[in-house]
Amino acid sequence: MICNLYIKDIKAISKLLEDLWNIDLSHFTYVILKIKLEQFCDKYKIQNVKLLENRIETSPLIKEDLLIYLYSDGFELFRDPSFWRTLKEDILKNINTNLPFRVLFPACHQGAELLSFLMLRDVLGLTDKVSVMYSYHHQKLNQVKNGFNFDERKHQLNLSNYKRINGEELPEKYLRFESNKLIPSSDLFINTEAFHDLEIASDLNKSVNGVIYRNKLLNYKRNIQNEIISGLATKIKSGGFLALGIKEQILKDSNKELLTMINKKESIYKKKNVV
């Protein structure tokens, strides 16, 4: 790291971003915010907080990239293959295809999880049966459909992950590379709907059969995690599922009363029947 940011620096930058662009960073844990901002500074060779403040104030174009650093993590398709295997075998293969089945992906930025799901959905022949809703926190972050910069050399990991699900190769038709951009097939986005939200799907009116929200809570303070889970729980139908990251868990007792763990290894919960 060429830039070291300290508590007072993080506070100053947070205030500046809120004043300038109305970006509220108070939900991030300190250490996550520090690491993300320092990595951002590294990319732009910004050496101290004063230079960072100056860059933010004088270069509006930097906003998009900063948002990506703040709200996106490492891009990896089919991360945790055993989760995707469980999702496929225990949930998707057992749905009643005569009834509507809707899955929500909140806070979908680069959308590795969304793309993974859409490909799996198509492989299973469920594109017409399972509708998908995904949300993004900021218009600049709604990159998933149009593609985004991705090093093709890192794609082997995605292919290997898919193969670990059940030994099959990922069909080539789903993804292509153009000028260092990874571009998903537009066919994957049939029966999908994108909308803007504030991480907690607060403006979502339709209830859903499942929510996939993996490794997003890692970034947030405990009280915010509880709020997010409470918000998502209200959107899930009785008997529906919530998938968190394998190292995430529901903390608050009132949320545990709504959602019961059905697979500890993969951190999958089921919405209890609400009378």
Partner: protein, 190 residues
């Protein structure tokens, strides 16, 4: 100086050293131990079990947000960075790789250094890349105590040598000396 936490970073060739160190520490060791070790990203099971065979200390892969406890060794989970927040909770992250690594030893050391300042003991072991060198320097910068495994005692010298290129650590020790040092620390400060 009484320390509040011990962090060990290592990569290729460090596994046997970590096993040796853990097997010689008492069950009621007075510090939490963070193990930021490079590992295969897609292999989730087996590492804790392998480390636990000879260890008297409980070894866990933490969940995000766990509060740190003395006498527990926290192994960075596969494919996650393990960070220490200033409230001394463990925060995991799926952010991009650092030094081609996730977990990144640099990130673990850097964040623990700020959280524990002069109460952190940092150790770099054998490894085949430079991850951890910068982080260990941050431990020293914050007033913590740093130890590098003697490159001549290391199966792979790259990581200890990279650490030595960036700083003059408080000590350079073999694995046997490391074990004695950590046990004496217990006897003196416990």
């Amino acid at each position: 100086m009484s320390y509040k936490a011990l962090m060990i970073g290592g990569s290729a060739g460090s596994f046997q050293v970590v096993v040796y160190i853990l097997s010689h520490l008492p069950q009621d060791y007075h510090l939490p131990i963070f193990l930021s070790l490079h590992r295969l990203k897609h292999v989730r099971n087996g590492f804790v079990e392998a480390l636990s065979i000879k260890s008297k200390i409980k070894i866990v892969e933490p969940y995000n947000g766990e509060l740190v406890k003395a006498g527990v060794a926290y192994l960075a989970p596969a494919n996650y960075h393990m960070l220490i927040d200033i409230d001394r909770r463990i925060v995991l992250s799926t952010s991009s790789q650092v030094n081609h690594s996730r977990p990144s030893i640099d990130l673990s050391f850097q964040t623990a250094a700020e959280a524990y300042r002069d109460k952190l003991l940092g150790i770099i072991l054998s490894g085949a890349n430079k991850d951890g060198a910068y982080g260990l320097k941050k431990v020293l910068d914050y007033g913590g105590y740093t130890i590098v495994q003697d490159p001549d005692d290391s199966q792979i010298k790259t990581m200890p040598k990279a650490a030595l290129d960036l700083q003059k650590p408080n000590q350079i020790l073999t694995k046997e000396e490391l074990s004695i040092f950590l046990n004496q620390l217990k006897q003196t400060k416990g």
